[in-house]
Subunit: 196 residues, 2 copies
DNA sequence: AGTCTTGTGTTGCCTAAGCAACACATTTCG
DNA sequence: CGAAATGTGTTGCTTAGGCAACACAAGACT
């Protein structure tokens, strides 16, 4: 009952079915009112099988958030991309799309679990930023990099979050530009000019 | 190793994956040049699993044709529909769509296996016609019904087949009308006026 | 109050699917 | 030509998933 192997096609398929079932259900129902039974039924898998993969629906949500978020990053940001203005711009665009996906198309991240989702996504974002920064500023101490990753991550997240809630505003695009300027000036002040 | 149960979700899923893999491959490759290995790989199932379900790719094609065709019929023609002009019209439209699906969107039914496909589909069509006719003309002997089903089935099939090969013609719609008139007059001559 | 329904975790047994290896055909190509 | 490569069926063993049943909890109905 280990299930640690990630290459068994049955496991991959089942987890995908479960994730897509949750996404599908979340388009019409509140996360809290979605039962494990619902998920298992729409995924056409046995309820016992669900519990073989996840302890509960919160664990599923948790895994889904990190998997989908990092997948989105790997799709859009090349592995050798260093942290510079272009990368920051891409990250901002990506965060906007992610907000739309998880807050608008789905009802996930609304109400009571919003906080859980937000901290999770910010954590993933900070991990990714730490990697990007590490490649760009290898000389710096790890501590500084981690701090920067936290600051920038929360800035980008809350900035795009604010943008998302004020999309109707005519200054929407300007908001994102400001966010970019703020971030890049901050990172330059801390670590100096990026190499490119 | 029986696999005769049709209600195990794993079996349903696997057969669907296999069928969709074949349909997907058939969009780009000739049926003859599609290997079981190809099908298993694009379906993300094991090759041995394929052989647990089908003896070879021809058996798969055979099952797929009848399943998809009858599914299409059940989607479009209500179970209590008797055989009359409206039903004939629906059947003709359905056959046209089926031709487009299997001869245009896929490369299935081209070249060497075309004959196999044609006879298979005609057989399915005749079974369905026999059921429809039986409901409409219950008084008649079973022999007559079967004969009519065969005649009408092959007429409708070859008629729509001809239409499909001459779609560019400006008289295309008229062709189908002629087919309808021919069929209905024939059935009336044999069995009398339909009840509705 | 009580019971009826609905969801949650968990269990043991059974079956479908994965995997690796086999022997045997084919093609393909130097 | 012969060897490498690719496809075909088949096998024995392992593992993921299905099924049914369980005890328990929480709301709903009268």
């Amino acid at each position: 009952m280990a299930l640690q192997e990630g290459n068994d096609p049955r496991v991959v398929r089942t987890r995908l079915l479960i994730q897509e079932a949750l996404l599908s259900l979340a388009q019409h129902k509140e996360f809290e009112s979605i039962s494990v039974k619902d998920i298992a039924e729409t995924a056409s898998i046995n309820r016992a099988t669900f519990y073989a993969h996840y302890v509960d629906k919160y664990a599923l949500l948790d895994e889904m958030l990190s998997e989908r978020f990092t997948a989105l990053v790997h799709e859009r940001i090349p592995a050798d991309q260093p942290f510079n203005e272009a990368a920051a711009r891409q990250l901002i665009a990506l965060l906007c799309d992610f907000q739309i996906l998880f807050y608008k198309e789905c009802k996930i991240a609304s109400r009571s679990i919003a906080a859980v989702v937000e901290t999770k996504v910010q954590h993933e974002l900070q991990q990714i930023l730490a990697n990007l920064l590490h490649k760009e500023y290898q000389s710096k101490k790890a501590d500084n990099i981690q701090l920067s990753a936290h600051i920038i991550g929360s800035s980008l997240y809350s900035g795009t979050r604010y943008w998302f809630n004020n999309q109707q505003s005519q200054h929407a695009d300007a908001l994102l530009d400001d966010l970019l300027v703020f971030t890049m000036s901050g990172i330059t002040a801390l670590h100096g000019e990026p190499q490119c």
